[in-house]
């Protein structure tokens, strides 16, 4: 099964039409749990990007050697290896950011999005395409985390990336953990609304 998409199309698919957070609704835990600031979103996004790209490439290289029956355990162990790498690197070089993210860096190993991309894409396609697909998905995840983080940080503490933008704190509620559910839910509804609006306007024409 050959892939007929260009690298740019693969990336665009990951960011827009198959965005892991808003469209596929996978990996919701970090999107709700630690998306309180933009910085958290970027950090975890980088970690996920790293794991996704390297796991995709690894599986793509070895795809002909993996027996179909044991493919899921193989994926899991591959991901676990790369997560261990990024976990140790972050703990060594960025201890502060690492402490903020807590257990979620280690939990990348259980993110459904990565396993899904390996199962749907990397085990069938070539190394280059898998690289671009992984990159697209990783960036899509990072963008999703950043958007949620931006909304929460702006509304919660009136700042973006730690810089005071508004000068006042509109709604402290958005910084509180439980607001993550509301923000993600409302944003999903917003995207649904855009889609419905778009379809309706097309239908009228």
């Amino acid at each position: 099964m050959a892939n007929d998409k260009t690298p740019m199309q693969l990336i665009a698919r990951g960011v827009l039409s198959e965005n892991p957070i808003f469209r596929l609704a996978l990996s919701m835990c970090p999107a709700v749990g630690i998306s309180t600031t933009v910085m958290n979103g970027i950090m975890l996004g980088i970690a996920v990007l790293f794991v996704q790209v390297f796991s995709s490439v690894t599986i793509s290289i070895f795809k002909n050697l993996i027996h179909p029956r044991i493919r899921i355990p193989t994926y899991t162990l591959t991901i676990a290896t790369w997560v261990t790498v990024i976990d140790l690197v972050l703990a060594a070089y960025l201890p502060e950011a690492y402490a903020k993210m807590g257990i979620f860096v280690k939990l990348i190993v259980a993110f459904a999005i990565i396993t899904m991309r390996l199962e749907m894409f990397a085990c069938k396609e070539g190394v280059k395409d898998s690289f671009w697909d992984g990159l697209g998905m990783g960036i899509g995840f990072m963008v999703g985390m950043m958007v949620i983080g931006m909304v929460r940080e702006l509304l919660g503490s009136g700042a973006i990336l730690g810089y005071d933008v508004l000068g006042f704190k509109p709604l402290l509620f958005f910084i509180l953990p439980s607001a993550g559910f509301f923000v993600v839910g409302l944003m999903m509804a917003f995207f649904n609304w855009i889609e419905l609006y778009y379809k309706r306007s097309k239908g009228v024409q």
Partner: protein, 314 residues
């Protein structure tokens, strides 16, 4: 049925065995000792003691068992009128989770009387259970396992089955992980392999449950649908071994944590599925259909669960 009764009695016997040293350690003179308030320890003696000795705060030395060099400052010692009990009041609040050691000089003619004050270990274990179940509910306060949570909370029957299976998988995999962590990873300095080993053990347990369930309950097996693959690497299951490794829990604490986490997941799934069944009858705006409204409902549950955050039972 017989078997479960047997296991239950075994568990009770184990806890009884755990508790017995606490009852015996107080010695002959000291009958009972416990934390009363945040700043107080109450001690009861077998008979009347010398009020001058027992009432003198300078005669006491109190420290946490883990830090024998740091003595806690005693504000006053109040002896009851019959001389049979004394209340020690401290200058600053005590950390009642830790075991405290009290040394008394010259009490009842003895040179030094030593006894330790701790919360009931069973209470402490129960505290871990309640904490994982309600206060730090894995779904509503730690935000783990949301994919499965939103995916399988449509029907009550599925939610119940899923929650029970999750609890079983969690307990089994947590106990295995505890064993591996304590007897293989730590002694050989292989802690950096934590993630790989834990995820392997979890997958193994899930695979076993999968095979057994396929034979025992095919209906439940079918209702899992696509989530069976995702369950293998679900964050709520892998989180338990990681937490126990972080906190250096012993085997009983691990068991309680896993049980609480699984029970909390079951509770969350059940609550959510109850609401979902009602939502199917409600008129929801088209933009909110499906996941968005589920997120809003979960957010409200999360706010409700914030209310548990001051809860302290023991």
């Amino acid at each position: 049925m017989m078997k479960s009764k047997f296991i239950f009695s075994l568990v009770v016997a184990l806890f009884a065995a755990l508790l017995s040293p606490l009852a015996a350690q107080a010695g002959d003179l000291v009958v009972d000792q416990r934390f009363v308030d945040k700043k107080e320890i109450a001690v009861t003696f077998a008979g009347p003691v010398d009020k001058a000795v027992a009432g003198n705060a300078a005669n006491y030395r109190v420290f946490e068992e883990a830090d024998p060099d740091i003595f806690l400052e005693l504000a006053k010692a109040t002896v009851a009128d019959d001389g049979k009990s004394v209340v020690l009041t401290f200058a600053s609040p005590l950390n009642a989770v830790k075991t405290h050691v009290v040394e008394v000089k010259g009490l009842g003619g003895a040179d030094k009387t030593v006894f330790s004050v701790s919360k009931s270990y069973l209470g402490y274990l129960f505290g871990i259970l309640i904490s994982a179940l309600l206060i730090n509910n894995f779904v509503f306060t730690k935000y783990l396992g949301l994919c499965v949570f939103f995916g399988t909370s449509k029907k009550k029957s599925t939610a119940k089955g899923m929650g029970v299976v999750f609890t079983i998988v969690m307990v089994v995999s947590a106990l295995m992980s505890w064993f591996f962590f304590n007897f293989i990873l730590t002694p050989y300095n292989l802690n950096f392999l934590q993630i790989v080993v834990f995820i392997g053990l979890v997958s193994l347990t899930v695979q076993a449950v999968d095979t057994i369930l396929r034979k025992v309950n095919p209906i439940l097996f079918n209702s899992f649908g696509v989530y069976l693959v995702l369950v293998i690497a679900n964050c709520v299951i892998i989180a338990v071994p990681l937490i126990l490794a972080n906190n250096n829990y012993n085997v009983f604490e691990t068991f309680m944590l896993a049980l609480g986490a699984g029970g909390g997941f079951l509770l969350a799934l059940y609550l959510m599925s109850s609401v979902s069944e009602r939502l199917q009858l409600a008129k929801i705006p088209p933009t909110f259909k499906g996941l968005p409204i589920a997120f809003i409902v979960a957010g409200q549950f999360a706010m409700a669960f914030l209310g548990f955050s001051g809860l302290q039972l023991f």
